[in-house]
Amino acid sequence: MATVVKTYEPRFWDRIYIVAIAQGLLITLGRIFRRKDTIRYPEERHVPPQGYRGLHRLNKHEDGRIKCVACEMCQTACPAHCIDIEPSAAPWEEGEERYPVKFDIDLLRCIYCGFCEIACPKDAIELTEIYDFSAYARDDLVIDMDGLLKVYDLTKDGNVYERHNRGEIIEVPITR
């Protein structure tokens, strides 16, 4: 079936564009007095709702030891195969006898499904609210164990974006 294309021949008032410009400026004028829909990123940052799944973190015990025992359940559960763990015998006497020496997450491959935190028997891996991490190279978006522990230090005292908007912290994340 053929499509009928309606043609429109502009008249004189259309051709001088003054009416159209005035109409556009009227809309702008109206918007000036309304509540703003945009935020002034990066000075001000959007606070994602509770349960948002962003950047991962590795939790620590109170004494600073890593909670992870390198059981590789998260690696097994991961549908995107983005976690790479290398276990080893732990150096400390007290506590768990196994810990990871390598814990890499490919943030570009990750689909942020949260299966890893569900699978974790030690509540060691969690997804945080952090969403704005970027880099200039793909390799820089593979976060290692130190990075994941730094994310824990950053996020343990509450939502980073709320604290950022209150002016408590300026620096938000860190990749390798």
């Binding site: 025992v69 390198a70 059981c71 590789e72 359940m73 097994t76 276990p87 080893s88 015998a89 768990e96 006898e97 196994r98 028997p121 030690k122």
Partner: protein
Amino acid sequence: MVVRTQTEKVVAARKLVLEFLLLNHPLDCPVCDQAGECFLQDYSFKYGHAHSRFIEEKRVRANEDLGCGVVINHNRCIMCTRCVRFTSEIVGTGELFVQNRGYHNKIAFFQGKQLDNPLAGNVADICPVGALLLKDYVHSTRVWHLSQTPSACTECATGCSITVDAAHNRIYRIISRENEKANGYFICDDGRYAFHKYQEDTLTEPLVKAKKGWNGLTWDQAYQTAVERIEKHGGKDAVRALASPTYPNESIFLLGQLMHRLSEKKNLALIPVKQEKDQVFTSGFKINGDKGGNRRGAQDLLGNRLAAGPKSFLKDKVGVLLLMDADGRTKMTADLKRLIEASPFAVVLACKHSPLTKLADLVLPIAGPFEREGTITNSEGLVQWLQPALQIRGPARPDWQVVAELDQHLTGEGGLYAFAGDVTWKINQTIAAYSQATRFKLGEKGQFVTGVE
């Protein structure tokens, strides 16, 4: 009589038994290396409670070194005493026993006498929980990451059936595979830990001896060098070869064909391999003293073409030597050294650096023991299929392929083979006794050859 195994009463009784087993068991499955292949874990899922009614503190004991690379985690032990019975009934040395009685009992060794027998690693295999652990495997990976390759051990002439557990092209452990025709249920520690020694000092490219050190070559250059040297030093008639009894039948067979094409003389012998005393244990398990795992196969295939040994070659003028290194187990006898000295050019097929490769003039890198494919024949005449667990490293090539390509370059004859199974088929066609030992008839358990002339 009718025995009911799934009634409510039976299930309830099982639950009670399991509750007792789990009284002191830490249930530290995330840390435990047995997780994934643990019977207690399976039964806990089936009959266990989520919470223990035991309000007292769990008994905690420190780990203990049992010797021979075995560590015991007393907390996980459920006192099944399999390990105790293993050392007394299978090995016959009886190092382990149950110390104390009742709540205080634990597995221990007699005063000052740790595990000290060549089958000790098996106690970790038979332990149904994660109490007995191998030091070299503990905290290295999880069992579900491992791909299990059924293969055979070539470390001695017993030819045990093994399962090679590997992941990411790395072997993590070797465990025994039940095969009543070969080894029964167990393997020795030599075979269990053999993979470690093939991980270091590996050869990856063809090397030719230069004035200083070694020069790398491409495969074409390497074959060309061999052909030129053979023409230069006495021609095809003077070539002598020593086949290794640790290699699969395929490469030994092809070497036999190659040497037959070169000359009608007895120009082929077996390379000397380290010999030890046979060790026989209470259960009848035998560690063969002959460390050439495929000697029977080599003798079957080469038959009366085999010369007595390196010594018999010294009578005539020796030309180029084709040597197969017995995976570092070559016995550097005086005769062998003299033979290499007498030869103007020695070509060595090897997977890793060894005393023999140092004396060589041209080294051709071939697949290591766990990269090989083919058949091996143990001392009883059982033919088993060797399945590669690893990819061949770098430019190294399968042993049979190197021999076949040498044949192509030297004589222009010899069939073209696409993979090891082709050569096996050729053996089935050529050697009457091996006609039934085809790839598919061998299966995972192997097949005996009979009636070798």
